[in-house]
């Protein structure tokens, strides 16, 4: 149970990256399946060469940013469709990740990694590490919130909302897109580096299916906290990532057939997508402050009826 919190917090770092592309930039970036592994591969390989874990983790972040840069270039300068650009980078990363590690599976002894000192202090388990992870993730969240409120951050948000409009204001949307993809994949790779050090190994297939977990976290968080302000949305992403792991843990605990796990994940995401539409949480939303109103009329009606029922 406690482990689900720990792992959920680490995956929240990845989910925050997915949030930046998927929600802020409106770009479904499949690069993450590869860049998550890249982060783990770089960190594990460097740690094996006695690099200090902090440096190794940062190098992982950097490698992820490079992957994001490539996807960004393909999409903006190469005019390749966004989904395809992500897939291409992801596929290329498979070979690159193998090159980085030299083998498909690279162990990292916990004592050699970032969490080694915590283990030595007896804080490698339980409430302490959760507190440390939580504070770390909140600091990261605050940094993202702050960044999105700067001029550059606002330009990125506007790129996602209405690219043509913001371009008419003189913003180079190619640059904002590339930058967001770099930050996003940097975060995802950073999460990969942390997970590798936490679970004790980097493996070539550790990122397979990751995009589903990322999207699930973002969507679950959004179903609960909405997408009205960046502050709430990023918090929702963190909660979503932890909830996702808790549900997996609960499913394992009740002895659910493992073959049904993917189905469960999909059902979870569908429910999270439907909840706001059915107006379950919307009664808490004040009227007239929605940033994304235009979609369907049934939603508006559902919201109106719940408001009336209130």
């Amino acid at each position: 149970m406690i482990g689900a919190f720990e792992l959920g917090m680490l995956y929240a770092v990845m989910a925050l990256g997915v949030y930046l592309t998927f929600r802020v930039l409106n770009f479904p970036d499949l690069t993450v399946d590869g860049s998550f592994t890249t982060g783990g591969a770089v960190a594990a390989s460097l740690i094996a060469m006695d690099t200090p874990p902090v440096l190794a983790t940062l190098a992982g972040v950097g490698a992820g940013a490079v992957a994001g840069f490539v996807t960004g270039l393909l999409y903006t300068k190469g005019r390749i469709d966004g989904l395809l650009a992500g897939i291409l980078t992801m596929i290329a990363l498979w070979s690159i990740n193998l090159r980085i590690m030299g083998v498909p599976n690279k162990p990292v002894a916990k004592a050699d990694g970032l969490f080694g000192p915590l283990v030595d202090l007896g804080m490698g388990k339980g409430p302490w590490i959760i507190l440390i992870f939580f504070v770390g993730v909140l600091i990261l969240k605050a940094a993202i919130d702050w960044f999105l409120s700067t001029d550059l951050g606002l330009a990125i948000q506007a790129t996602g909302n209405n690219e043509q409009m913001i371009r008419s204001f003189g913003v180079n949307t190619h640059n904002t897109t590339i930058l967001t993809l770099m930050i996003s994949n940097g975060l995802v790779a950073g999460a990969g580096a942390l997970v590798a050090q936490y679970q004790g190994y980097a493996d070539i297939s550790m990122g397979v299916g990751l995009i589903l977990i990322g999207l699930a976290s973002v969507i679950i968080g959004q179903a609960i906290f909405g997408n009205r302000t960046v502050l709430l949305a990023t918090f929702g992403v963190i909660v979503g990532a932890v909830l996702y792991r808790l549900v997996i843990f609960a499913a394992l605990s009740v002895g659910l057939n493992p073959n049904d796990m993917r189905l469960l994940s999909a059902i979870m995401v569908v429910i999270a997508l439907l909840l706001p539409r059915l107006g379950v949480f919307s009664k808490r939303l004040p009227k007239g402050r929605l940033t994304k109103p235009p979609i369907p009329s049934p939603e508006g009606e559902a919201r109106a009826t719940t408001a009336a029922a209130k």
Binding site: P104, Q199, Y201, D203, I204, S253, P258, M261
Partner: protein, 329 residues
């Protein structure tokens, strides 16, 4: 859940058998729900796969046959490594007496999460390279187990015996599987001793398999490592071999049953059983995993498939046929 009931039933059968024969030791609680003298054991399996399932079954059979009362919490990560970590953490917090981890990433996850209880692994090809043990003779920590290293060198010898004039052999394997890489390295070493050239074709996904096979056109024989992806795509491998008359030598019995000519086979059920005996030693005799050497299967029975040989244009020599323990019709 069904597994639990079956095991429960097996437990009852074993316990009553013991009572009848008047054996002493173990099995005084029949339902095994954490009674005195009963052990709770967690099994963390990476993915559902016939070989790995057999290893888990063999492990549990060791307990049933020894008449030891144990409840097994069998968990499967369905191939997702984060889930393997969650499973290991669940076992750590449940206060499980011993954990069996099947396949390398599951073992690594268990090792990271569980430090104060014995962890046994099986179906790990190279536990030293995987960082699970300090050395095979003296693991040094709470982790030990069995390796599924197959006798690659002997299998290449077998290939040479069946296809004596082989000059080049092809190996097809998944680039993402650490076990295959280890075997390919061994195969190349052995082949160069015999003066045989090796052509590698690695695949990232099952979809690449056909292309990889096509790139091997012209080789005198193909050696298949115990690779999950290739084994899953045996159908296309056998098609290629039959239509191009390229003899296939397998790395495990399942491949021979599905159309390869022969192998000196690894038996995952027996390997799991061997791991179970190690676990029993730890639980009942207080053996220390740190000083228990990593074990491997010692005898590899020869399995042959004459029908497959015919389709692939070779005849299995009489010397090989007479040695075979299993002949597939």
């Amino acid at each position: 859940m069904r597994k639990h009931t079956i095991l429960g039933a097996l437990g009852i059968v074993a316990a009553s058998a013991l009572a009848l024969t008047g054996c002493s030791g173990g099995g005084d609680t029949t339902d095994g729900a954490g009674g005195e003298g009963s052990y709770s054991i967690g099994i963390s399996q990476l993915v559902q796969h016939p070989a790995l399932d057999a290893a888990a079954a063999g492990f549990q059979r060791a307990f049933t046959e020894a008449g030891i009362d144990a409840t097994f919490d069998v968990q499967n990560a369905n191939g997702e490594q984060a889930t393997a970590t969650t499973i290991a953490q669940k076992f750590a917090s449940d206060g499980t007496d011993l954990v069996l981890a099947i396949a390398t990433p599951a073992a690594q996850a268990a090792q990271a999460a569980i430090t104060d209880k014995p962890v046994l692994f099986t179906a790990v090809t190279d536990p030293v390279e995987a960082g699970l043990v300090a050395s095979s003779d003296a693991p040094g920590g709470n982790v030990t187990g069995t390796t599924d290293m197959n006798p690659v060198g002997d299998q290449i010898d077998l290939l040479k015996e069946i296809v004596p004039n082989a000059k080049t052999i092809g190996i097809v394997y998944a680039s993402g599987e650490v076990n295959s890489q280890v075997q390919v390295a061994l195969a190349k070493e052995k082949a160069s001793e015999l003066g045989i050239e090796v052509r590698e074709a690695s695949v990232a996904t099952g979809a690449d398999l056909q292309t990889a096979l096509d790139s091997l056109t012209g080789v005198d024989a193909i050696y298949l490592p115990t690779d999950n992806l290739v084994t899953a795509g045996m159908g296309s491998v056998v098609d290629f071999a039959n239509s191009n008359k390229v003899p296939l030598i397998g790395g495990e019995v399942n491949q021979v049953e599905n159309g390869a000519i022969a192998t000196l086979g690894l038996d995952y059920e027996a390997l799991g059983y061997q791991t179970g005996q190690m676990a029993i030693k730890i639980l009942t005799e207080g053996a220390d995993p740190a000083t228990m050497p990593v074990e491997a299967q010692t005898e590899f029975p020869l399995t042959v498939n004459p029908g497959a040989a015919e389709k692939q244009g070779v005849t299995i020599p009489e010397a090989v046929l007479s040695r075979a323990e299993t002949t597939i019709e």
